[in-house]
């Protein structure tokens, strides 16, 4: 694990926003990522768009489509992280992508470049425990954290996943795909207790988190939250402004304000 990530996850309550790389442009993503850090992000999750994002709901699917149409690729996403580091981003960056584009890029090449360009971890939702050994080994060599997910349905699987997980453990708050939901799963608390019993790393909750009060409630049981669709939706509604250099800063400021407000419960502790 990178020193950056190791240090970041020692914080009591992690706040991990997600945005899609290249939505709507590379320049916008760079500004947005920097603004997320200003808004209090402890870790930034950066999605590399894919044609068939099986684990994502309609909001992130739409963002992926916008980014792909604008020409986003694996190589450009890696380069973007390098630019973010040049621009002074300190927060660890976790790339979120799917197994097929990763396989086509090449596991080793990807890990080498990611590590060299300042990436700290990677999350591949369709590479479950059973399929991740080879890739996990390659990541481990370069101190890249392969982030694992557990779900309320994981049951007996939790222990084996948790025991080998790196960085932080991504706990899926509800069944289904990514997306905003008004209510949290009723058994969330119990599920988190089970997970925390097995995990020696922070357990953060994602999928469906969209409101500040949800963030607050989750943080009562969890070690942090991932907020994706709610932010991506905001970005989607500002596509035109974010695309034009002259209106970009104002739009980025709007996103930053929204994220700050989401992060309020964590910041005000």
């Amino acid at each position: 694990m990178s020193e950056r990530l190791r240090k970041a996850v020692t914080k009591e309550k992690l706040f991990i926003p997600f945005i899609t790389a290249g939505d709507p442009t590379i320049e916008a993503t760079i500004e947005l990522a920097l603004s997320l850090e200003r808004a209090g992000a402890d870790v930034i999750e950066l999605g590399i768009p894919y044609s068939d994002p099986l684990a994502d709901g309609p909001v992130i699917q739409a963002a992926s489509k916008r980014a792909l149409t604008a020409g986003m690729t694996f190589a450009k996403a890696l380069e973007m992280v390098s630019k973010l580091r040049e621009r002074g981003l300190n927060a660890p960056v976790i790339l979120f992508t799917y197994a097929n584009p990763l396989l086509q890029y090449g596991f080793t090449q990807f890990v080498n470049e990611a590590s060299a360009f300042g990436v700290d971890g990677i999350l591949v939702p369709d590479l479950p425990f059973e399929e991740s050994e080879e890739f996990g080994d390659i990541c481990a060599k370069e101190d890249l954290a392969l982030i694992s997910l557990v779900a309320p349905t994981s049951k007996e699987r939790v222990e084996k996943i948790a025991s080998s997980a790196k960085g932080f453990l991504y706990c899926v708050s509800s069944l289904g795909v990514t997306g905003t939901r008004n209510e949290l799963h009723p058994d969330l608390k119990q599920f988190l207790q089970v997970v925390k019993n097995s995990a020696s790393i922070p357990c953060v909750v994602g999928f469906g988190v969209s409101q500040a009060d949800q963030v607050e409630e989750i943080n009562r049981y969890a070690d942090g939250v991932v907020v994706g669709s709610a932010i991506v939706k905001q970005i989607g509604s500002l596509t035109n402004e974010l695309s034009q250099p002259e209106s970009r800063s104002a739009a980025v400021a709007k996103v930053e304000a929204f994220v700050k407000q989401l992060h309020q419960p964590v910041a005000s502790r």
Partner: protein
């Protein structure tokens, strides 16, 4: 859970326990004689098996090569081999205590088969179908609705089969506890390719027995079309150990394998991961999955069952590709000569089989898996023949 390097379980963690439960449920069912005998009874009394083996006397005479035989899956209830698998999986779902079925469909055949078994077994049924496909196949939408299923348009991507599959899997992810995902071909994560093969191998098992009964020997060559590849695996599997039997899978070459308009996954694709398994697929250099094309909706899929990828690499099965035009010609020829209007999918197998038969002697035989009937394709044919300015 692999065929050589192919297959696997590339699915979100959320589904892993459902897949594990499925594997356990399947392994229990398959050795349960009560399950086996109910399935056998349903296949006979409801689906109309066994299906006949028809000698294509006129085609054989005209080709003047090998003797051509047709395995008549077009006569299965609902019009294609799809019901063999839908019946098997729905009984499995019942045995596992799931009362809801979810499936995707392209042209509607698998959707109709799934809606049919849901009706027969009193289960709830959700079918995802691309919004574009729903427009093109309105009558199949009506058939599913008459059967009591709810058809939900998939509005993402190109609004066709791949997107409907994504949506069905998304639904399953969210409802795996009470919902059974009834996959329509030998694709998807392990154990699906094995489950579907198990329920479709009745095609090959019956064919093997019938062929020996009728001709006293095994076929020289067997030809089946391959989209996901369930009719082909079902037909080929019982013959895999018969090394003298040549097996030929036929993909859709669409406008030609050297254009971008085809669905020839093995012929022209590369290794990758789609819908949970490692196989051959059509993708760009970045691993983005590309849109396939075929006149036949059932072959219009960018991936292929992982076992086919394995059989191709092992050289046990040879994979060829047939264009839209060749398939249309074969459909017309079969209709005129043998009185059978087959599905456009199956017409790809017929086209290749005619080439194959031509190369062989009169003592040799070619067996075609006629996977479905052509009623569903009449609108497409009408339009094509109109465009050709060729009133048949």
């Amino acid at each position: 859970g692999r065929f050589g390097e192919f297959g696997g379980q590339y699915v979100p963690e959320t589904l892993m326990s459902a897949i594990e439960e499925l594997e356990i449920g399947f392994n229990e069912a398959i050795v349960d004689t009560a399950f086996q005998s109910e399935l056998a009874e349903r296949l006979a009394d409801f689906a109309g098996r066994e299906t006949p083996l028809t000698f294509a006397e006129n085609l054989s005479r005209e080709i003047a090569g090998a003797q051509i035989y047709l395995k008549r899956e077009d006569l299965v209830h609902t019009g294609a081999h799809k019901l063999n698998n839908a019946l098997g999986q729905a009984l499995l779902a019942k045995r596992m205590g799931k009362q809801k079925l979810v499936a995707e469909t392209g042209a509607g055949q698998h959707g109709v088969a799934t809606a049919t078994v849901a009706a027969k077994f009193g289960m709830e049924c959700l079918i995802y179908m691309g919004e574009e496909d729903m427009k093109r196949q309105q009558l199949n939408v009506l058939r599913m609705e008459l059967l009591g299923a709810t058809v939900i348009p998939a509005v993402t991507g190109s609004k066709t089969l791949k997107d409907a599959t994504n949506e069905a899997i998304r639904h399953w992810v969210a409802h795996a506890e009470d919902t059974f995902y009834l996959i329509g071909s030998v694709v998807g994560p392990h154990p699906y390719p094995k489950i579907v093969r198990t329920f479709q191998r009745i095609i090959g098992d019956e064919s093997r027995k019938q062929f020996i009964n009728q001709t006293g020997k095994l076929p020289s060559s067997i030809v089946a079309c391959v989209g996901g590849g369930s009719n082909a695996i079902g037909m080929f599997y019982p013959f895999l150990a018969d090394v003298d039997v040549d097996l030929i899978g036929v993909e859709a070459a669409g406008l030609g394998v050297n254009t971008h308009q085809h669905a020839a996954t093995i012929t022209k694709g590369s290794k990758g991961i789609i819908h949970g398994s490692l196989t051959y697929l059509l993708q760009d250099e970045h691993g983005q999955i590309t849109e396939p094309y075929s006149i036949s909706a059932g072959l219009d899929y960018p991936g292929v069952g992982p076992e086919h990828a394995y059989l191709a690499d092992q050289n046990r099965v040879e994979y060829k590709a047939i264009t839209d035009l060749e398939a249309l010609d074969a459909l017309k020829k079969l209709a005129e000569q043998e009185g059978i209007i087959c599905a456009l999918e199956s017409a790809h197998a017929v086209a290749e089989a005619l080439k194959e038969a031509k190369k062989r002697s009169a003592e040799e035989t070619v067996l075609i898996c006629l996977s479905g009937r052509g009623d569903k394709d009449m609108h497409t044919l009408q339009q094509r023949l109109k465009e050709e300015g060729n009133h048949v």
